[in-house]
Symmetry: D2
Subunit: 258 residues, 4 copies
Amino acid sequence: GPEPLYILGPCVIESEEFVWRMARQLKAIASEVGIQFVFKASYDKANRTSVKSFRGLDVREGCQILANIGKELGVPVTTDVHSPEETKIAAEYIDILQIPAFLCRQTDLIQAAAETKRVVNVKKGQFLAPWDVKNIADKLLSFGNDQFFFTERGATFGYNNLVADMRSLYWIREAGYPVVFDATHSVQRPGGGGDKTSGDGVLAPVLARAAAAAGCDGIFIETHEDPSKALSDGPNQIPLAQLPSLLKQLRQIHDLVR
Amino acid sequence: GPEPLYILGPCVIESEEFVWRMARQLKAIASEVGIQFVFKASYDKANRTSVKSFRGLDVREGCQILANIGKELGVPVTTDVHSPEETKIAAEYIDILQIPAFLCRQTDLIQAAAETKRVVNVKKGQFLAPWDVKNIADKLLSFGNDQFFFTERGATFGYNNLVADMRSLYWIREAGYPVVFDATHSVQRPGGGGDKTSGDGVLAPVLARAAAAAGCDGIFIETHEDPSKALSDGPNQIPLAQLPSLLKQLRQIHDLVR
Amino acid sequence: GPEPLYILGPCVIESEEFVWRMARQLKAIASEVGIQFVFKASYDKANRTSVKSFRGLDVREGCQILANIGKELGVPVTTDVHSPEETKIAAEYIDILQIPAFLCRQTDLIQAAAETKRVVNVKKGQFLAPWDVKNIADKLLSFGNDQFFFTERGATFGYNNLVADMRSLYWIREAGYPVVFDATHSVQRPGGGGDKTSGDGVLAPVLARAAAAAGCDGIFIETHEDPSKALSDGPNQIPLAQLPSLLKQLRQIHDLVR
Amino acid sequence: GPEPLYILGPCVIESEEFVWRMARQLKAIASEVGIQFVFKASYDKANRTSVKSFRGLDVREGCQILANIGKELGVPVTTDVHSPEETKIAAEYIDILQIPAFLCRQTDLIQAAAETKRVVNVKKGQFLAPWDVKNIADKLLSFGNDQFFFTERGATFGYNNLVADMRSLYWIREAGYPVVFDATHSVQRPGGGGDKTSGDGVLAPVLARAAAAAGCDGIFIETHEDPSKALSDGPNQIPLAQLPSLLKQLRQIHDLVR
């Protein structure tokens, strides 16, 4: 099998300085562990639970920062887009355009992303059966883009809970599409924190290892120098200090099962 | 308790002639049964399962038709909006702006709808716990709009299935918000038809009656002269011919429990 | 349609005096409201969450008390059985033998109940799809008993939660079997109280009304003079004082929809 | 960490000759791979979906066969028990008594198993939250048995489907109990085959690998020379011929993560 892809980065561009520092540290870790990585950060958190939450930067400003980081460090970059208009701007700068899970059924957004000819990463909605990604794939293909993959990020399981169904990774691959496992969003407890999303960060490495062993084409991990101070999604991010050992382990598991 | 609200109409504006004919028939039925109704139709189906599905009309064109119907027949009209831009246009014509379930967490859309000062109907996402509508209510209030209500349309229940949790109606009312029950979308089988959403139309009256008896502020029903020929969501729409007896029954149940 | 059946009683025989007092009060309420009722109480709670919980009486002793009540008040009685041996003893005294939900797949128990020739009420397991009651029906029929019905008492919905799927009532009836809705167990929060099952008693009338309107052949309600002092399942029982008005309402809804 | 435990065997004692042949082949495979294994087979399938299904042998007869196999091959043996009476008989012969998932809340059965002083393996009910195994542990402890562990075998996920929540393994271990992952029952589709349980045998190795990587104390796998001819649960058993390579892989993953 091919090399697995690791999509790593903080949830959001908390500041230009912050995101550069994170990217440099991740680049060093990836080199040390010997893995290929894509740097991820969001410029905007468009679907925050509460209106009081931090949102982020303007799309062009955020994407320029990411593009500069990518060029300087020699790594591909990715971010999530929320409308056809944003998609066109982001595509000027960004290697992999990510469609948020809640928006995976919005045809106009899928079309806009497809038509940029960039690689598209569609997060599978929490409400979507694994085999139903085929309809999204067919939309992307019909709009002329065959450079896409899906990300599994957990399925709705009762209220305020998600479950990561490891069978999903198998089914999506069987359907012919590459699939990445998002270890940090899969441990979210949506709405579990009242006016913010809580989560079980300690479980993210557990699920990342499980997904690597189940078989997938990559792992997505949000990480932060100090998750307790993160401006978004802190409770489920993995502390940067724990990343090297986790990535080594994931790498070894991947080598075992491919 | 106050009079219940009935939101009735076809899924989509299949043609101008079709939607006028439907509205006139619904007006006659509502008068006969003695209920208050809001006429509903979508100008665009922005999140169809498959790209091959019928989408609809331009936003302004569609909303003008609905506004003309509303003025002529003396009924409020409603439609669903999918972006801040559409929202502004729709608000020129439409009495109640509906936020689609998949988009209920998109802050920009909530803000745009709130700022129109129109009544806003937020469909509760299939992935959202009933008590978490409070966060959406707080967003609407913070953007200056207190004329809103929620619609329950089923919760994700395993793959390709939704369950209508009747407790949700109680919890949303207890939280202080009016709640409408969407009987026809709650019986959808998302993705259950392969490249289209299937459903159990025969179950929609069952759930409508249950919701009326559980206690809610209104019922939303999509209806069609001939569901088998509907251009969208046919399998879960209620045939127009069955509507009078169902609405009478719902009316009586409502009178019993309020 | 035929008259609906109301299965009413306390969760468990807390004492002989208690259960006689409850039965007499229920008899008076049923006469006042004009409904047919079956008196229910368990002699033993065989599957309590915690070993510290109250369990109850010996099977023969408990069933004799119930039989005496039935004879004196002229009402059928029902109780739940947990093994083939208990089933044979209970059948000497009891009109309707109830199979607990967790045990609905135990063939020996189904066979023992079927062979008593008593009426059998199988509670549908929280893990069972509505259409799968057919397999249980086929077992009962193959053991020579066609006097049975099913009770819907909620389906597993994530962790520590049940959802009452009103479609289930329709599907079970469509399959050709009578179905009763258990309003008080459907609002349980299994394990939600740590070492006991908690629940939302306030929701039981909501779900009872919804089920009556959806269409079912009966309603099962556990009731107690003072739920806060009940030795079992207190949090989801309905206070006896609220029963008359609830039963009147259920009766009226039933008349409307049949 | 300690050596992981592998519980291996056919679903049911199809015949004495069959079960000896399976045990000898498994012994050879375990020696080759270098793992510790417990031989598992059921004497009776007490909760078959349909009454037409094969059930098995008498308890004493079945347990004697297993005990003879255990003595001859020098391996511990395990089987599942369904009543207090069976439990006492089985305990004369069997090293590890397994409590079926549907029966995990039956206090009398837990008590009978605990009092045999044998090791007890409680399968976690499909309807039970991972943290609620504590109540079962407390029952076992109060009956004087601290030699027990739990087996995760999937949670109810909508209708006719189970999901293996890998977080469960972490939570059960965190609560202080050893946990085994049942890879073949977790891929069942309960009732999915109409009058029998279907499943996705191809997914069992996927979930077994995921569980080993997530972290657990053992793996339970049902295997058959020819699953298509198995008298019970064929669709989810792993062909014996695939077992050596799978067990090697699981062994390596376990070494990596402990």
